[in-house]
């Protein structure tokens, strides 16, 4: 009785808060900067997508749609793109947007100091045609260029000049690290790094507002249990992520619900293809069994991905057959069947390869990077043990994990990949190409997988304008990396957000939280 009274009371208080349409949300990571060109990471770009805009933007279905450009077309026999810019767009400080700002933002975002410069590697020249037309020329035909710049945000050139923020500053901050001046639907009204960031709708926004928020406030909450408590007690309206083990509780509680989706991130296992010897355990310095394709296939067959999905991911992940999820451009429908769980077949392959008695090796894993990463690795270890190969698991925080992988200290490792361009070419370039520093290829291909045909096909994919020909080449690449078992794709990571019942929002597979799609009822 007493409790229901309290609930009623708090409900009254809460509805009072809802009428003001202040939207408060919490996430695990605070965006480390407000500079849209300084850091190419999801927390920063996701947050700033609410404040800054690019020439194009991604819609609810991830397809690109006009933003600061109203239209674009290929010119110069495919060696460039002409963008027609939107007229009458204003920055938050009231100044006008035109081609000058686009050129400036190109120079800024592609500068040596910028972490976003890799997006502009294919660009040869940017030319202003008139105030509202701009040509971006590429070194070779580049069919996915408009797709690849959806997160390239436009900054006002005069504002940057006046505030001495012509280039991002990674060591000492500058004005743009703490202040913003975009064209987006929301403007930052208060920024306290690591504590909170407040936003207000921008009255002069060019597009029609779909949201009904009057104020928004973001707070980073480190501890997942505290975030869940804050949601359950009604102190925040939305949290991302909800720990998978708490999802059922959030769902069953009156007043809150869980929104599930599939992220763009594929979790996979990688091998030390170019290691001559095993590096860890008592079998160290013996020949590396993973150089034998049958052993790699046996690993794929030995892992019961469905069991991992059902138990560790509580049913909210999707089995993966390739290095991108089905929602991505260039997903290969011709190769969509995941490897079936087949422990007997795995044992047979191992016996054929001469490892009927098994072997042992070191498996490296992060323990705070992906959802339940360490638990998944423990399950993998147990499943591999059932076919007779013994993985010695070494799980560590991500801060030490990447240096360890770069130093080549693994026999097998776990990796998650979310393609920044939402295109299959992305993981091929970073994970499957033979590592080559000069050509900037294969920079995350830690195991050194190498296939000459893939290396030949990649530049062709990059410059093929015809979509079906391009897909044919991608299909070929996929069938190569699948049959060679370059990686063992496990599953596509789930997205689990929690909200109050009175919130309507759209969850995008890139895990960006878009404020302009939020409605408070």
């Amino acid at each position: 009785m007493k409790r229901s009274l309290l609930i009623a009371l708090s409900a009254i208080l809460l509805s009072g808060a809802a009428q003001a349409e202040t939207f408060r949300w919490a996430g695990k990571t605070d965006p480390q900067t407000m500079d849209p060109h300084a850091v190419n990471s999801a927390p920063v770009l996701g947050f700033l997508n609410n404040v800054y805009e690019g020439l194009v933007r991604r819609g609810k279905d991830m397809a690109i749609e006009p933003a600061l450009a109203t239209s674009w077309e290929a010119i110069g026999e495919g060696k460039g793109w002409r963008f027609t810019l939107r007229k009458g767009v204003k920055f938050h400080d009231g100044s006008d947007f035109d081609a000058k700002d686009v050129l400036f933002s190109y120079e800024r975002a592609s500068a040596e100091e910028s972490d976003t410069r890799s997006w502009f590697a294919p660009v040869s020249e940017v030319k202003i045609v008139d105030d509202f037309t701009i040509d971006i020329m590429t070194k070779a035909p580049n069919p996915i260029f408009p797709d690849s710049i959806a997160n390239w945000m436009i900054m006002d050139s005069d504002w940057a000049k006046a505030n001495n923020a012509l280039r991002p500053d990674k060591k000492n901050s500058n004005f743009a690290t703490l202040n913003t001046n975009g064209t987006g639907a929301f403007m930052v009204t208060d920024r306290q790094p690591g504590l909170s960031t407040s936003l207000k709708p921008f009255k002069g926004w060019w597009d029609k507002a779909e949201h009904n928020i009057s104020d928004a406030k973001f707070t980073p909450i480190d501890n997942p249990a505290t975030a869940v408590a804050a949601l359950l007690s009604g102190e925040v309206d939305m949290i991302n992520p909800v720990p998978i083990q708490d999802a059922a509780r959030v769902d069953s509680q009156n007043g809150t619900k869980v929104i599930r989706g599939i992220e763009a991130r594929v979790i996979m296992l990688g091998f030390g293809h170019d290691h001559e010897k095993i590096k860890f355990t008592s079998d160290a310095n013996k020949a590396n069994p993973f150089q034998d394709i049958r052993v790699r296939q046996a690993v794929a067959k030995a892992i019961n991905v469905d069991a991992i999905r059902q138990t560790i991911m509580r049913g909210s992940a999707e089995a993966a057959s390739q290095l991108v999820s089905p929602a991505m451009r260039g997903y290969s429908k011709a190769n969509m069947a995941p490897t079936a769980y087949d422990p007997e077949g795995a044992k047979k392959l191992l016996a054929d390869a001469g490892y009927g008695d098994g072997f042992s090796f070191g498996l490296k894993c992060p323990n705070n990077r992906y959802l339940n990463d360490e638990a998944v690795c423990q399950a993998v270890t147990a499943m591999l043990a059932q076919v007779g190969i013994k993985a010695e698991l070494d799980a560590m925080p991500v801060q030490t994990y990447w240096p360890e992988l770069r130093a080549d200290n693994f026999d097998m490792y776990m990796l998650g990949w979310s393609p920044g361009t939402f295109d299959h070419e992305h993981p091929v370039r970073f994970l499957v190409s033979t590592p080559n520093k000069e050509k900037k290829l294969g920079s995350w291909n830690f195991g050194g997988f190498s296939n000459a045909r893939v290396d030949d096909l990649l530049p062709m994919v990059q410059s093929e304008i015809d979509d079906s020909k391009r897909q044919g080449m991608i299909d070929e690449i996929v069938s190569i990396y699948q049959s060679e078992q370059a990686y063992v794709p496990l599953y596509v990571q789930p997205l689990v957000w929690g909200t109050r019942d009175n919130i309507a929002l759209t969850q995008r597979p890139d895990n960006f939280f878009i404020l302009r799609w939020v409605n408070v009822k």
């Binding site: 609930i7 690591g194 501890n223 505290t226 990447w402």
Partner: protein, 324 residues
């Protein structure tokens, strides 16, 4: 006497230098800050340029030396995460931690002494047993769990108190306080209890045993024989003598309250230096970590130095220049 002071001061400096050296030696093992500062599409050239810019390619002794020479001039380096001077960030966050630490210290002292006296005077009975048992749970459970437990009871189930943050804060430029508003005070209750519970139990048990001891002394018996009231005996004669060791212990505990606040601040997302430190560890923000560790060690070394000086004032043998 002067030589004694100089000796102690020198020892303090050596301790500080050693802490810094150990800290910088460890930073090489906490990870690589580059991974947080550059996205997945970076090239090796980008990595190299940033390492050079941040001075990460220098041997750790050189990095330590640069930090020291900067620190002497009041420059503790620039945060990798925020790109602002590390010292500024720490000073911004310090009021939150000090306020929390002070309130929990007051809570621990007041409650600890009161409950200690009560349980000493009423040695048996339901209330005493309950207090003692509950307090035992308080010390046996880890701070983290107590915090979560309190959040679930008072924030989620009852909805009386906020589960995280500092509420409304008034900013005076050099100091921020949440004590001026009801929302700020409400936010302080749960973290202060969580942080002070251990110290409260400690003080309570100390007071209880000291006071029980004193109540058995001859002069208390004489007082009782003289016909003084129980109230006068307990509060005028017994309590006063109880408090001497309590104050010594309480003083020593203040340092550990500030150090322990790391866990409490993480659980309650309390925007103090402890939370800042945890964030910095996750981000491998070396300048902020180094500044925090130096600050904490300066504090501990300072307290110890003062204690040493107090001994000097008390112990005449030390004043004569002969160490006891």
């Amino acid at each position: 006497m002067i030589s004694y002071i100089i000796k102690r001061a020198m020892q303090s400096v050596v301790v500080l230098l050693a802490v810094g050296l150990v800290a910088f030696g460890m930073f090489r093992f906490v990870g690589d800050p580059i991974d947080n500062m550059l996205g997945q599409e970076r090239t090796d050239a980008d990595v190299e340029r940033l390492r050079e810019l941040l001075g990460l390619n220098d041997p750790f002794i050189v990095q330590y030396w640069d930090f020291l020479t900067g620190a002497i001039q009041g420059d503790m380096g620039v945060s990798f995460r925020q790109g602002r001077p590390a010292l500024d960030i720490i000073l911004e966050r310090l009021p939150a931690t000090l306020e929390l630490a002070t309130v929990s210290a007051v809570f621990a002292m007041v409650m600890g002494i009161l409950l200690g006296i009560y349980t000493a005077i009423n040695r048996k009975g339901f209330v005493t047993t309950t207090i003692l048992t509950t307090s035992l749970i308080g010390v046996s459970l880890p701070t983290f769990l107590i915090g979560i437990l309190l959040i679930y009871i008072f924030a989620v189930e009852l909805g009386w108190l906020p589960s995280f943050g500092r509420g409304d804060v008034v900013d005076f430029g050099w100091w921020t306080t949440g004590l001026t508003s009801w929302a700020g005070i409400k936010s302080l209750i749960l973290p202060a209890i969580t942080l002070g519970l251990y110290q409260m139990t400690l003080i309570m048990r100390l007071v209880r045993s000291e006071m029980s001891e004193i109540l058995r002394q001859d002069y208390i018996r004489f007082a009782r024989a003289r016909g003084l009231t129980e109230k006068t005996i307990n509060f005028r004669h017994a309590v006063k003598n109880t408090l001497i060791p309590v104050i010594t212990v309480a003083g020593l505990q203040i340092g550990s309250i500030i150090a322990f606040s790391i866990i409490t601040e993480t659980v309650f997302q309390w925007p103090g230096v402890g939370l800042l430190f945890i964030d910095s560890v996750q981000f491998v923000d070396i300048p902020v970590m180094a500044s925090y560790l130096m600050l904490i060690s300066v504090m501990f070394v300072g307290i110890n130095f003062i204690v040493d000086m107090l001994y000097l004032a008390i112990d005449p043998r030390l004043r004569d220049g002969k160490e006891g």
